[in-house]
């Protein structure tokens, strides 16, 4: 799958390259139960050989339904979880192999993460200005109190909050304001890369619009690169340059956003797009959704999508389809490769 990772589209310089990423969780029952019940060890492949790259200044989105491995990928990229296999190269350095703590700290400052629930990620007992100042102190960016206060005020203004709000505590803010605080904290160390895991999924649409607009403004102003994780296809279409679609831990399609939404190739992508409610009330014909996502501990053989796929044949039940180039993207589907998918 090296082709996917190193493919150059336009004059893109990848800031982040993920290659052959895999994460296997041990989901066995406790040892004693296994002995007593004669149960065997069980594992769950949450992320299965995933490769993609993100050029500087672009937004790459990962979409997929719950359990498809989105958050696991995000956590591996920001170092909250160790990959079972694979490489994560940030600006040329494989961050899974950095042994030197000082170098890791230097790298860590350059990428940050924003989570779905801003409340859970903000210490409720800390004042907002202290929360935002934390990375400034931790990374040794600033140490003098006056300079820190100036920078915190600047960050609050950047996320369209009042610098006077710094003295308040997280619970005094609405959900959208808390997400702004989380963004201000993430931006404190002038990162180049932000991993945003469902950043607006807990927010109302009118507040979501504020946050999405803010994210776009910040990207334009600072040339930020985003990995946006979302189950919301409309949000992804609005934000992303390129999109990767995950199904049960595997990438099934990667394509420029417009291509993915106007000419999806993979049968799963097509089903997913058809399932989105028709807000435009166009009355377009849509295929009904077949079946459900299988148990990830005992996934189907061959192509994981075969039990639900209208184009499945014998080969699909046996052989995992590789991610191969298709138009300006990549698709993992035998029917597409064989020219059977209309």
């Amino acid at each position: 799958m090296t082709a996917v990772a190193s493919a150059s589209h336009a004059d893109a310089v990848p800031l982040l390259t993920v290659e052959g990423l895999r994460c296997v969780f041990d989901v066995s029952k406790p040892w004693l139960n296994r002995v007593l019940e004669g149960a065997s060890k069980q594992s769950l492949q949450a992320v299965d050989d995933v490769s993609f790259f993100i050029p500087k200044g672009e937004t790459f989105a990962l979409v997929g339904e719950s359990g498809s491995g989105k958050s696991t990928i995000a956590k591996m990229i920001v170092g909250l979880l160790r990959p079972t296999n694979g490489e994560i190269r940030f600006d040329g350095t494989d961050i899974t192999k950095v042994g030197n703590a000082a170098e890791m700290r230097r790298l860590r400052r350059r990428f940050q993460m924003i989570f779905q629930d801003p409340y859970a990620s903000l210490n409720p007992r800390m004042r907002v200005d202290t929360i935002i100042a934390e990375p400034l102190r931790a990374f040794g960016i600033l140490s003098e109190d006056g300079a820190i206060a100036t920078r915190v005020a600047e960050l609050l203004r950047l996320v369209r909050l009042d610098p006077a709000d710094g003295v308040k505590f997280p619970h005094e803010f609405s959900g959208g304001q808390r997400q702004r605080i989380a963004i201000a904290r993430a931006l404190a160390g002038n990162p180049e890369f932000l991993v945003c895991d469902e950043p607006t999924s807990a927010l109302d649409v009118s507040v979501q619009a504020q946050i999405l607009n803010l994210m776009k403004d910040l990207q334009a102003e600072f040339g930020l690169t985003y990995l946006l994780i979302s189950h919301n296809l409309a949000v992804v279409r609005h934000m992303a340059t390129r999109v990767g679609v995950l199904y049960l831990g595997r990438l099934v399609e990667v394509a420029p956003s417009r291509q993915l939404f106007t000419a999806p190739r993979h049968p799963y992508t097509r089903m997913l797009l058809d399932a989105v409610p028709d807000l435009a009330m166009s009355g377009r014909q849509r295929l009904p959704v077949q079946g459900e996502i299988p148990n990830p501990i005992t996934p189907p053989s061959g192509c994981f999508y075969h039990p639900r796929c209208p184009l499945a044949n014998e080969r699909c039940t046996q052989e995992r389809p590789a991610l191969v180039p298709a138009a300006e993207g990549y698709v993992a589907c035998h029917a597409v490769a064989e020219g059977r998918a209309a």
Binding site: S206, V207, A275
Partner: protein
Amino acid sequence: MTETSEALLEVRDLVVEFPTRRGILRAVDQISFSLMPGEVLGLVGESGAGKSLTGTALIGLLEPPGRIASGTVRLKGQQINGLPPEELRKIRGRRIGMVFQDPLTSLNPLYRVGEQLIETIRTHLPLSEAEARQRAVDLLMEVGIPAAERRLDSYPHEFSGGMRQRVVIALALAAEPELVIADEPTTALDVSVQAQIIAVLKRLCREKNTAVILITHDMGVIAETADRVAVMYAGRIVEIGPVRDVIKSPRHPYTKGLMGSIPDPEAEAERLIQIPGSMPRLTHIPKGCAFNPRCGFANDQCRTERPPVRAVGKGSVACFLDEAQLTALSLEARR
């Protein structure tokens, strides 16, 4: 908001309040609407708008100290708010079915799905055990549960989230009610499962001519399902009308902002329309029009007087702007 004697449900000036130490909080503030047999009414709005409380007030399930302070709820002309609890209990299940966001609200984890269905059927319909069992199988088949006969013996936790919600729909429809109130029935589900659940709910209610009040924050779900839609903001209905009108050419400034803030899955746009601020807490509902601090058109009158609901086009709008201004807004909002 015309009321006719054929209406299935008529809600008039419904007010839901919470007495607290710091005074009385009004969560639902004089809302009125009606529903025809077989009609699907969407109740939409952002969180805290008062949608769920409206739903629970209609069926007498408000948790104290929450209470209906004034207003009436009539089912086929009969006032049902204020009925003794046991009479309300008979109406729930028999004449009004319910589906909540979390299927486990409606399902008892300790009993097999079949037992729960059969019990509900026999509570409301004069059927024998064997007849009720057959009806339970039929219902599970109708909601699309494979191997329905065998699944009667399964416990709720043995079903996926989507399958559980299908069981809840089967339960809600078990006694062939005239009305189903579904509160965010697909919010916890993935989009593909949501599509399946909406399809089932729509098909069955159409087949059985069951009216539905579909409560959701998701305009897409409303667009797919509803005949009419009522938009709630801070406990009030700000706009109500045929679904196509409200979605394609919203008139009220809030509805217009709400629609503009939704990313369009059909097209890309650089920026989304954004409404400043967020839904007020109950303790801080602004005077006059509750939307005034967030509204680009607010004037002095909006800050002091509450705008009355008045008919505009095929619907109604609660806003001081005149008809020409509202129509101009709606033309601008047209997608």
